[in-house]
């Protein structure tokens, strides 16, 4: 693939959040490694889907890509321009080329702004459209694209249904004429029938406007439906990346297999026939990830050698990129899954032993 085809190139991106303790002096006692070394590239006009469970760092990756959360290390180049070192003014100008669609349309729209004001704000900030009339024209065209009626302009977000609110969110992203849209869980807050409307809308917009998407979602079926390439994240790193059809027919990483087998399919025949790979336990805390392969604590195929002490790098196996030492052996059936007993995982910030934290000893100690 030549460089001109790649719109976004991410190299070894890291986002670490400090964990602070103390009242007067904020001591940094550790880091939550939300994103810990991700490489990916998104070709122009294609959709890259990012899946993973909550807490795997997929949203942080999306935000860091747009520089909404400053990355700790790594490079993000957008159409050849390096974003991480760009001056704030220039970055601001770049932002009109990359926009975001948020998960919850109600909380990402200002309840006191009407739709026209919501859509005009971005145009004004970037000086697009010249005068009021010019902006009106752009806004009306955008409304048509997302399938909202003209009378919507004078209305406020609470007057719309969930699906329509998400359309407003999409219109707000589209109005600046972006090339890249990062959609963070664009349909998960919506009902099934409305979900399909929005998914189709995103598809149609890509066809007509040639948009590039980074779609972040936990719903594997939705991601597979709209993506060309799918990346699977686990604890801040990509464990597998493959063309979406291939990922489904030939998942190579044990985590991808488990994830695939866990998604319920609305078809009783499929449901009865398939073999579930049940993962034991929960996602380990990203503040204290397991050494070696991050997945080895829950992996049914984990081996005593290498898995616990050597972190696997993404390597190419027949069109997919997989971070697993034993992917080939698992694919051929040479290695068989074994039973894993669940390990107790503390929710974030509760690193202490269970015996120690029984009750807050003084008021406010858990605040």
């Amino acid at each position: 693939m030549s460089d001109s085809d790649v719109l976004v190139q991410v190299r070894d991106l890291k986002v670490h959040f400090p964990i602070k303790r103390g009242v007067l002096f904020d001591r940094t006692v550790g880091h939550v490694k939300a994103v810990d070394g991700v490489d990916l590239s998104i070709p122009r006009g294609k959709t890259y889907g990012l899946v993973g469970e909550s807490g795997c760092g997929k949203s942080t990756l999306g935000r860091a890509l747009l520089q909404l959360t400053p990355p700790t290390a790594g490079e993000v180049s957008f159409d050849g321009v390096e974003l991480t070192t760009l001056a704030p003014g220039k970055l601001r100008a770049m932002r009109k080329r990359m926009q975001m669609i948020f998960q919850d349309p109600m909380s990402s729209l200002d309840p006191r702004q009407n739709v026209e004001s919501i859509l005009t704000e971005g145009l004004q900030a970037h000086g697009i459209g010249g005068n009021r009339e010019g902006r009106r024209k752009i806004i009306s065209e955008t409304l048509d694209k997302v399938g909202l009626p003209r009378w919507a302009l004078s209305r406020y977000p609470h007057e719309f249904s969930g699906g329509q609110r998400q359309r407003i969110g999409i219109a707000r992203a589209l109005v600046l004429g972006p090339e890249l849209i990062v959609a963070d869980e664009p349909v998960s807050a919506l009902d099934v029938s409305i979900q399909a409307q929005v998914v189709n809308l995103l598809d149609d917009l890509q066809d007509s406007l040639g948009l590039t998407y980074l779609v972040i979602a936990h719903d594997l079926a939705v991601v597979r439906h709209i993506s060309d390439t799918v990346g699977v994240m686990y604890l801040g790193a990509l464990v597998e990346e493959a063309p979406s059809d291939r990922l489904y027919t030939e998942p190579l990483h044990p985590y991808t297999r488990a994830l695939m087998s866990a998604v319920p399919v609305p078809d009783p025949d499929v449901e009865d026939r398939r073999e579930r790979i049940l993962l034991a336990g929960d996602l380990p805390s990203p503040a204290n990830p397991p050494a070696g392969c991050r997945f080895h604590t829950r992996c049914p195929w984990a081996q005593p050698t290498r898995c616990a002490d050597e972190r696997p790098a993404l390597r190419e196996i027949g069109g997919s990129r997989v971070a697993c030492h034993f992917a080939e052996q698992i694919a051929t059936g040479e290695l068989r899954p074994h039973k894993v007993s669940a390990e107790i995982v503390r929710p974030e910030g509760e690193g202490e032993e269970p015996g120690v934290v029984s009750a807050p000893s003084e008021p406010g100690s858990f605040v």
Binding site: G147, S161, Q195, A221, V265, P266, L283
Partner: protein, 366 residues
């Protein structure tokens, strides 16, 4: 005789100077002993209110009217006084809620919350109760249960909290378990664990389960009988396989067409249902789904559609149901929303469902 027989249940919330809301508008279904029954529908279809009404958990407020019958093992739950209802709740009928964090008390250890049920209904105390509670936690797959008993809900992960909640629900071996979106707040891999656990519990103990969910995939893998709700009424009831193979009600057809499937290829268009749940016709004036329906005919509006009983315990509430493939040559049109377009429709021409997303219709100001 069925274990639970819900007949014409209706719940109305009335407020002064405002239109009354018919959250549940004549829901009828039955649950046999040991059966897994699904209530499926989108938000606002009344599935949760149905379960709360059966359990008697709706907030007592002026303007709340509950009508109809919910007969559990010969007694009408809706007519019971609070005291006898409390005896049944937790012992014979138990409930699992959607969000485990908000349904567990944050300032009481898990152990105490589990033993509370045992003390109330089984008269167990002290060490015996603690031992039983530890066994329960062990049964739902919580590792190291003795230590977990002393912990608080915030110290457990989401999946473990849901397991604790399930342990509380099955503590008295209830004959009926109502699970209201038990896995919606959880990740897929954890969801698979919890569903597997529920399946095992139901199989081992013969408990009947009412599964309330919006996820058709969950229903496909678990339920024996499925009730599809729309606008506060059951629009279609069928056994699991027939429902997915040949859905008759256009809403069921639409729902199945809207779900992206993991085993479908990239680029296959979804067939969404046009409009939104707000475009609702009151049941008294016809079919509530008519404003969004692609198979609408004149007869849909005017009077509520009758429940049509078909063979094999199947029923649907529609005057122009989607045809069954291979039934008669004339009716052999494919059961998809797109296929519905070539069936003569007397009213307005149906929106082309396979085309671009239809614009949402004009909504009145709330």
């Amino acid at each position: 005789m069925a274990l639970l027989e819900v007949d014409d249940l209706s719940v109305t919330f009335a407020r002064r100077n405002q239109r009354a809301v018919h959250a549940v508008d004549g829901v009828s279904f039955s649950v046999d002993a040991g059966e897994v029954v699904g209530l499926v529908g989108e938000s606002g279809c009344g599935k949760s209110v149905t379960s709360l009404a059966i359990m008697g958990l709706l907030p007592k407020q002026p303007g709340l009217r509950v009508g109809g019958k919910a007969v559990f093992d010969g007694t009408d739950l809706l007519q019971l006084d609070d005291r006898s209802r409390r005896d049944i709740r937790g012992r014979d009928i138990a409930m699992i809620f959607q969000d485990p964090l908000s349904s567990l008390n944050p300032v009481i250890p898990i152990g105490l919350q589990v033993t509370e049920v045992l003390t109330r209904h089984r008269g167990m105390k002290g060490d015996a109760a603690a031992k039983e509670a530890a066994q329960l936690l062990d049964r739902v797959g919580i590792p190291d249960p003795k230590r977990r008993l002393k912990e608080y809900p915030h110290q457990l992960s989401g999946g473990m909290r849901q397991r604790a909640l399930i342990a509380m629900a099955v503590a008295c071996q209830p004959r009926l378990l109502i699970a209201d979106e038990p896995t919606t707040a959880l990740d897929v891999t954890i969801q698979a664990q919890i569903l597997e656990l529920l399946k095992d519990l139901v199989r081992d103990s013969g408990t009947a389960l009412v599964m309330i969910t919006h996820d058709l995939g969950v229903v496909a893998g678990m339920c024996d009988t499925i009730n599809v709700l729309y606008g506060g009424r059951v629009v279609e009831t069928a056994r699991r396989r027939p429902l997915f193979r040949e859905p008759r009600h256009p809403y069921t057809v639409g729902l199945l067409g809207s779900v992206p499937r993991l085993d479908a290829g990239r680029g296959e268009k979804l067939n969404p249902i046009p409009g939104s749940v707000r475009d609702l016709l009151p049941w008294a004036d016809g079919c509530a789904f008519a404003p969004r329906c692609t198979r609408r005919v004149d007869a849909c509006v005017g009077q509520p559609p009758e429940l049509v009983l078909a063979h094999d315990g199947r029923s649907y509430r529609c005057v122009n149901p989607a045809p069954v493939p291979g039934l008669t040559p004339a009716e052999a049109a494919p059961v998809t929303v797109a296929g519905a377009a070539d069936v003569p429709v007397a009213d307005e021409p149906p929106a082309p469902a396979a085309g671009p997303v239809p614009a949402p219709r004009e909504e009145e100001k709330p």
